[in-house]
Symmetry: C2
Subunit: 353 residues, 2 copies
DNA sequence: TTGTAAGCGTTATCAC
DNA sequence: GTGATAACGCTTACAA
C-alpha cells in the first residue's frame, strides 16, 4: 500500500506537501507560535482546506507537548448524585473558570475501585486532578496519582500528606450561627447533620459515634462549641426531603426544640416544611439555620439564616492551584471563610412552654 | 545530556531494559493483550515498581491506538446552569453508563464561539461527541466535529443532515396530558412553556411568535392539538421560582384558568405554590400537569400528574450510539416515548363560576 | 521566514 | 512466549 492512501485522514505532512512547504512550517501556521509570511500561510490554509484537514490531531499534539489540556475531577459518588448538590454544581462552575486559564477542560472521573470500567485516575490522559470531598476511601486513588507525578488538589477533605487542599472554616462558621441562636435566647437546640459516614444511617447519634465525613464532623464541632450537649440527628443526604423527614421526627416529641441547626440549606428548607406541616411558624415558634448560602429554589418567601460559603471561589481556587502547579509552582493550600447571613428564619426563642 | 537523565519519568523502555526484556514484551505485560509467562511478568512488574513506573502514558497510548477513551459532552449553556436541570443530570447519568462500555469518560465542553479559552470540539482529544439540546447556534460546532470525522449524536435537538439523534415524543406526550385534562372537563386552560428562544423573554406570546427551542415548540404543539386556542405564557427557565412567578400572573386575573399545562415539573411545582399562596386547592380549584417525571425535592405531598420521560435512558442510548459508531456501525437515530402518570394534581374541572 | 532533524512513549505486526 | 521494527502525527530547537 502506497502513501497515496485514499481513506486516510490528512495529516499535517500531507498539507505541507500539498502546499509545498515543510511540515514544521505548516505546523506553525496552525499554532501561531512563529511568524509566517502571509503568502505561505495562505498556501497552507488553502492546502488544508483542499485536503479537508481540520487542524492538528490533539492526541499527537498532546504526546509531543506533554500536556493534554485536561484536568480530571474526581467524585466519590455516582456522578448523577454529585450534580444534585447545588454546592458541588457551583464548585464545578468555579473550577471550569479556574482551569480555563490553562486552556483545559474537565474530565469527569469517579473514584471507584470496583468497576474496571471507564478511565481512571491512572489511565486518563489528564494533566492534573482535583478531588472533591476526599474521604479515606479516596486515598488509594490519590497515591496512584501522586505516583504518576501529576498535580493534585483536594477540595474539602483530608488528603493527608502534603497534598494541597482547599479548605473552609466549617467549624468557626457553624459556631458563629450557634452563637447567633444563643444570643437570641435559644437553649433547646438540635443539630441536624449531613451524613456521618459512607453508610449514611439516619437518626440520633451519640458523642462517641465515629463521624468519618470531615464536613459533618467539623460543623458539628462548631455547633457543640456553643451547645455542648445538643443532640445530633443525622440525615442521609443533603436534600429537602431528608430535612422534611428529619424535621417530622425532631418536631414531633413533646420536648420540641426551639431551634434547629441544619448543616445544609436543603436540610433547613425541609425542616421549615416540616414545621409548616405541624402548624409551627418560622421563626416565631422555631428558628432554623442552614449552611451553604445557596439559592433554594421554591423556598421563598423564606430567606434562610445561613452561612454563605464561597463555593464557586473554592472551585476556582482549585483550578488556579493546579494551573500554577503545572507551571512549576509549589503546592499551596488555601482556606476560605463563610459569611454569616441573617435571614428571616431565626428569631428570639419563644417563652418557655 | 545522556539518556541516564535522573529527573525523567521512567518509560516502558526503561522498564524493559531493567527487566531484561524487550519493550514490546513489557508493553504486553501491562495491556494483557498477549499471554506472557509468569516469570517474565513478575520480572517486568518488579522492574516497574523499582523504577516507579505506574503504567503506560495515556497520551502516547492514545496516539498509537488512535483512541483517547474520551467522549465530549457539549452544552449550550453555562455548565453550572446545565446541572441545575434535573433532567440533564439524569441524562448525564445515563450517558456515563452508556459510554462506560467503551471504557470512556466524559469531557465537559461548552459550545461557545466567543471564548477562545479551554478545549473545544476542535482541539479536544475526543473519540466522539454528544451534543445536548442542539440549537441552530450549535450548528457550527457540529460542522467542525463532522469535518474531523468523529461520531456525533444529538440529544433533543435539530441537528439537521444525517446526524443521528436521540428524540422524544414531546408532542404526542403533551397531547396525552391535554386529553386527560379535556376528559376531566377542563375548557379554560393555559400553557406555561419553557423558554421560547435564547433571549428567554417572559410572558404571553401569540401564535405567530417564533419558537426556536424545539422542545418548547413540540410540547406546545401537542397541547394545542387539543386546546387550539389556549394562551401560552413563557417562563424564562425551568425552575420552581419561575413557575411561581408565572403562576402568580396566570392565577391573578378574574378569568382564572381551571387548569395549567406546564412544560416541566419544576414549573408545575411553582404553579402549585402560587395556587397555595392564593388559597386555591390543587386539584379541586386548579389542575396542574407537569412534564419530565422527575422527583421534585420538597413537593410532597403532591404527586404531579406528568409525563415521565426516560431521561437516563436517553443518555444511555446516546452513549451506546457513539460507542457503536466507533465500532463502525452506521449512525442510527432513536426515539423515546414518555409515560403518562396521573398524580394528585389533576382532577375534574370545578363547576363554572 | 523557512527547513532539517530528532524525538514524544507507546503498541501492532510479524517473524522467530 | 518473546523480540525487532515501524509507525502513530505532531512540535520545537536549531540551522540556514
Amino acid at each position: 500500500m502506497k502513501r497515496t492512501d485514499e481513506r486516510r485522514r490528512a495529516t499535517i505532512a500531507d498539507v505541507a506537501r500539498e502546499a509545498g512547504v515543510s511540515a514544521s512550517t505548516a505546523s506553525v501556521v496552525f499554532s501561531g507560535k512563529t511568524p509566517v509570511s502571509d503568502a505561505t500561510r495562505a498556501r497552507v490554509l488553502a492546502a488544508a482546506a483542499a485536503l479537508g484537514y481540520t487542524g492538528p490531531d490533539p492526541r499527537a499534539a498532546s504526546l509531543r507537548r506533554g500536556r493534554s489540556g485536561i484536568v480530571g475531577v474526581v467524585f466519590e459518588e455516582h456522578l448523577g448524585t454529585a450534580f444534585l448538590d447545588p454546592v458541588k454544581t457551583l464548585m464545578m462552575d468555579g473550577l471550569t473558570e479556574g482551569v480555563a486559564g490553562l486552556g483545559a477542560g474537565l474530565l469527569l472521573l469517579r473514584d471507584d475501585e470496583s468497576a474496571e470500567t471507564g478511565p481512571s485516575l491512572t489511565t486518563a490522559p489528564i494533566d492534573a486532578a482535583v478531588l472533591i470531598g476526599c474521604s479515606p476511601l479516596m486515598r488509594r486513588s490519590l497515591d496512584t496519582v501522586r505516583a504518576r507525578g501529576i498535580p493534585v488538589v483536594v477540595i474539602e477533605g483530608d488528603a493527608g500528606g502534603d497534598i494541597p487542599r482547599i479548605g473552609l472554616d466549617n467549624r468557626e462558621a457553624q459556631r458563629h450561627a450557634a452563637r447567633h441562636l444563643r444570643a437570641l435566647g435559644h437553649e433547646h437546640v438540635v443539630i441536624l447533620t449531613l451524613p456521618v459516614n459512607a453508610d449514611r444511617p439516619r437518626g440520633f447519634f451519640g458523642a462517641d459515634a465515629e463521624v468519618t465525613v470531615d464536613v459533618t464532623r467539623d460543623r458539628l464541632a462548631g455547633a457543640r462549641d456553643v451547645y455542648p450537649g445538643a443532640p445530633a440527628y443525622a440525615a442521609a443526604g443533603s436534600f429537602i426531603d431528608e430535612g422534611l423527614a428529619a424535621g417530622r421526627v425532631l418536631l414531633a416529641g413533646p420536648d420540641r426544640p426551639t431551634a434547629i441547626i441544619a448543616q445544609s440549606d436543603l436540610l433547613a428548607a425541609g425542616v421549615i416544611r416540616a414545621a409548616e406541616e405541624q402548624g409551627l411558624r418560622v421563626p416565631d415558634d422555631l428558628s432554623v439555620t442552614g449552611f451553604d448560602g445557596i439559592v433554594v429554589d421554591g423556598l421563598a418567601p423564606y430567606a434562610l439564616t445561613t452561612l454563605v460559603q464561597p463555593a464557586a471561589d473554592k472551585g476556582r481556587a482549585a483550578g488556579l492551584a493546579v494551573a500554577s502547579m503545572l507551571e512549576g509552582a509549589s503546592p499551596v493550600s488555601m482556606h476560605f471563610t463563610c459569611a454569616f447571613r441573617e435571614g428571616n428564619t431565626s428569631g428570639r426563642a419563644p417563652a418557655a412552654q
